[in-house]
């Protein structure tokens, strides 16, 4: 794509975003179904399940919250852990701000509400490849990307929540959660620092699983974040 970025209209940009975001419905749809089934299975009503999906739109954090509530973790721990899963969103926000931070407030608010992993990753790649895009074209591109992903997420959850009750007891639905989560983690393990962080997280979470209030997970996560940052720093120093 070497076309003159200044010449791309917001309308063209929107359709490009839609096309580039489209394939992600193959991940988001099934993930929505898994959340719908798991939440219904855990005893959430249809309204609560859809409330989660529409108000939060963050599958990993939603599954984390439902999982911890099923384990009777204290509410504060449920909230802190689920929000920790979403801390990466602040990083996305910081990374998008130089590109679309000058958009009107209502647009930035809508962009923030619709900020899912795939929307961020697709858009930031575009902005870096086409720095000449106008502000309006950048914003239109982002809305193009999310305009299939987010509705499919809602719809997937709805299908899962409605189908959840009809799944026979012998089907191992509980295993869908680790598989869905770990499928997201595998592709992220692209540097030594990421691998080291994941290993520290697993080892400490297992070693500390006896701690009350799921505190073991919080300790493991903080230690793993520090590990990732340290390994990255060491590698940069060695590379010099």
């Amino acid at each position: 794509m070497t076309t003159d970025a200044h010449a791309i209209t917001p309308r063209q940009s929107f359709w490009q975003g839609l096309r580039h975001g489209g394939p992600f419905v193959l991940i988001v749809g099934p993930f929505g179904v898994v959340f719908g089934v798991v939440a219904t299975d855990a005893g959430l009503s249809l309204a609560q399940t859809m409330g989660f999906t529409i108000a939060v739109i963050a599958g990993a954090a939603q599954l984390t919250a439902v999982q911890l509530m099923t384990e009777h973790a204290p509410t504060v721990i449920v909230l802190v852990t689920a929000l920790a899963v979403n801390l990466r969103m602040a990083m996305y926000s910081a990374s998008l701000a130089p590109h679309i931070g000058a958009a009107p407030l209502w647009q930035r608010a809508l962009i923030a509400y619709l900020m899912v992993d795939q929307a961020y990753a697709t858009s930031i790649l575009r902005y870096e490849q086409q720095p000449g895009l106008s502000l309006r074209a950048k914003v239109a591109y982002y809305f193009g990307v999310v305009s299939l992903i987010c509705p499919v997420w809602y719809l997937g959850t709805l299908v899962g929540a409605m189908a959840g009750n009809q799944i026979p007891a012998g089907v191992p639905i509980g295993a869908a959660v680790p598989i869905a989560f770990i499928a997201l983690i595998g592709p992220m393990l692209r540097t030594l620092a990421h691998v080291a962080a994941a290993m520290v997280s697993v080892v400490l979470a297992l070693a500390l699983s006896g701690l009350p209030y799921n505190l073991g997970l919080l300790v493991a996560a903080l230690a793993a974040m520090a590990t990732g940052a340290l390994v990255e720093t060491w590698q940069q120093r060695d590379a010099r």
Binding site: N86, S93, A175, F181, A183, A229
Partner: protein, 108 residues
């Protein structure tokens, strides 16, 4: 779930507001102030720091009858991870894990 409906709604509302605040944080600040490098370096590892630790105890939990982890779940998770690292694609990883789970569950 024995958690009350009001608690579930409380979790939904606080999580929605908190998540929006995280997403809006830097976009909301006019001028797009830069986040410090050390903070970015920590934030970069949040998914790989939280999710594996969240899943590990669940995957390793001993079954009531054998006292050992569920072999079907263990093999499904291993295949999911390997395919995810190898193909760099979450969809293939998820499908491979589900197929492994189905195969091992049916065979045992």
């Amino acid at each position: 779930m024995s958690v009350s409906a009001s608690t579930i709604w409380l979790v939904i509302v606080v999580l929605a507001v908190g998540t929006f605040a995280l997403r809006f944080s830097f976009l909301g600040m006019i001028g797009g102030r830069q986040i410090p490098g050390w903070a970015l370096r920590l934030l970069r590892y949040t998914p790989v720091a939280v999710i594996p630790g969240l899943m590990a105890p669940q995957v390793a939990r001993p079954l009531a009858d054998t006292g050992l982890p569920d072999p079907a779940l263990l093999s499904a998770v291993a295949v999911t991870l390997l395919v995810g690292v190898w193909r760099k694609n979450a969809i293939w990883a998820m499908l491979a894990g589900a197929a492994t789970l189905a195969a091992v569950t049916l065979l045992t």
